[in-house]
Symmetry: C2
């Protein structure tokens, strides 16, 4: 649950980060930044701000803005009908993005949010910097965390169906609830 | 046919335009900018510079840099096997992009390259500016032309098979021939 004021403040902060990163977005787009607290109610710790630039039934392009040290929780993109699942490439625009995927434990800069050790199971950390990218195959568990200065990144993917994503944390609700004043 | 020196000069000019537009690319990527003269041998008039950031068997992301008034010839993306054809979204980063698609004649800023009236059949002109985008459905004929200051744009698409694109001009060869010194 986020208050409307918190939601709007996060939206504006994210839009400003996106513009400072050099990406040109319209005023209309800036109002469409989605603020996701994943139902956990502590946006600055676990959350993400997402602007969908394009979403057809074949491809999607999003911009993800993460506040300093904000963590986008561990999840994966499952198969849906004949679709093997979303294939997603992350390309960093500004900031460092700690990206955790399957593999040996290599955590050195990132951290698991306190008390959440059981629901962050991927500990193979890659530090992606501006201009660097990684392609995540369907079904591959992953989570992201911004470095000290926050981060802005592109997500290029096949068709997106966020509501069907799998999350390791059973407490997560993908749809943000907003408390009106 | 382009000389190696002309090819390298165009590549460097395009990489500089991309970086000036605010997009961060690696030095390795800057060396991979493809210069396409479409076999017509007059790159500044009809041609394009293309950097493929991502190409999987499902999606592709490219950056297209056009020099001032440079025209990317009329073409379309045909069906291939079970694929209905490439769906492509163009999003402008810098400059104006005159985009010609099916519809009533509305040409006002752009022009058909001299002597090429028969092979530029789309005359419905849209002027796309930074932050604006258009999705081109498979099979739809289209051509692009940069305004006075050149242009940089993203191309977000389903799987790309450039060599199978259809071109209105029968003289076009999609693969650039380079004349070594």
């Amino acid at each position: 649950m986020l208050t409307r004021a918190d939601y709007t403040a996060a939206q504006n902060r994210a839009a400003a980060m996106i513009r400072e990163s050099g990406i040109c977005i319209s005023d209309e787009e800036s109002q469409k930044v989605e603020v996701a607290d994943f139902g956990l109610g502590r946006l600055e710790v676990e959350g993400a701000q997402i602007l969908t630039l394009l979403a057809t039934d074949r491809i999607a392009v999003k911009i993800v803005a993460l506040f300093p040290r904000q963590t986008l929780p561990e999840h994966w993109h499952p198969p849906v009908g004949d679709d093997p699942g979303k294939e997603e490439t992350i390309r960093v625009v500004t900031g460092d993005v700690r990206t955790c995927v399957p593999g040996d434990e290599t955590m050195r800069e990132g951290f698991v949010p306190a008390g959440q050790e059981e629901v962050y199971t991927m500990r193979h950390e890659l530090i992606l910097k501006p201009g660097e990218q990684i392609t995540l195959q369907p079904g591959m568990k992953h989570w992201f965390q911004a470095g000290e200065n926050g981060a802005v990144m592109y997500s290029f993917s096949t068709v997106t169906r966020d509501i069907l994503d799998g999350f390791t944390d059973p407490n997560i609700k993908r749809v943000t609830e907003i408390q009106e004043a």
